[in-house]
Assembly symmetry: C2
Homo-oligomer: 163 residues x 2
């Protein structure tokens, strides 16, 4: 299939300087602050964003080299299909986090609940809208995660996905 | 900044053959069925996915040419910053939808609540996990969407983002 090419719109800064020992999801990064440094050419696109309390960041997992179709995710010791996990070694290493928007100052966006590695290239920002992004009125099943989800709050990354 | 390159993992098939008159979000596409045709080389990565009722699709908005930093979104008549909207004409045309997973059959994944154009290249599949993807215990503000969200259910796309 034809490849697609994206140009990062900015860089995410965070206290997480190493892939080892990071929170594995925003739920484990409560209060952790970071900043988005947006390329100046896109600042006009931030208008009205400050009305939202939460934003969805879509970013490139730039430290991932290669992918695996079966992985032991951080929360499990059983190999799972990569698409049934949130592990980073995906065929296309795209990360997604819902973070808190604290303040927009020029080309700097202050955020919190940041589970993202410092220096990560940002691809998109979308407003988080529960009416669109959650399945409020539907029954949700979460497969193998069901008895693991509570652990996500305290679990830190280890070296399993570092080359 | 250095560009990133992704190779689509499959194609999304849906009844939406035209950008005009489509549902604008999954909430407006309840019951609309579609299929993901995954490239055979990635089928191994689908193991365990069938335990999940909902999946997050990340895809390339392949019919978008160019971007605008200020747009009138489908739900409004005021120009908004693109990052404060879900409009398709983004600097990186990446779409995201939470859809229902009906059944996995080999390389075909049957889905519903599909608001995606037929033939869309798929970049990633992630399991939807409310514990990670919703802000259950936080106050959420949704800016200009606040008095528009109910309209999303019935609103259809028009030609405003078609070149």
């Amino acid at each position: 299939m034809k490849t697609v090419e994206y140009k990062p719109i900015g860089t995410i800064h965070s206290p997480h300087k190493d892939l080892h020992g990071m929170p594995i999801q925003p739920v484990g990064a409560k209060g952790v602050k970071g900043q988005i440094e947006l390329e100046n050419e896109y600042v006009e696109g931030l208008k009205d964003l400050d009305g939202f309390s939460h934003i969805i960041l879509i970013y490139h997992l730039h430290m991932c080299n290669g992918h695996s179709l079966r992985v032991k995710p951080f929360l499990d010791n059983v190999k799972r299909g990569i698409f049934a996990t949130r592990a980073p070694k995906r065929p296309n290493p795209i990360g997604m986090s819902v973070v808190c928007l604290e303040k927009v100052e020029g080309n700097i966006i202050h955020i919190s609940n940041v589970d993202i590695l410092d220096g990560t290239p940002l691809l998109d920002i979308k407003p988080y809208i529960p009416h669109f992004d959650t399945c409020e009125d539907e029954d949700v099943c979460i497969g193998w995660f069901d008895d693991k989800k509570q652990e996500a709050k305290n679990k830190k990354s280890d070296k399993r996905f570092v080359d």
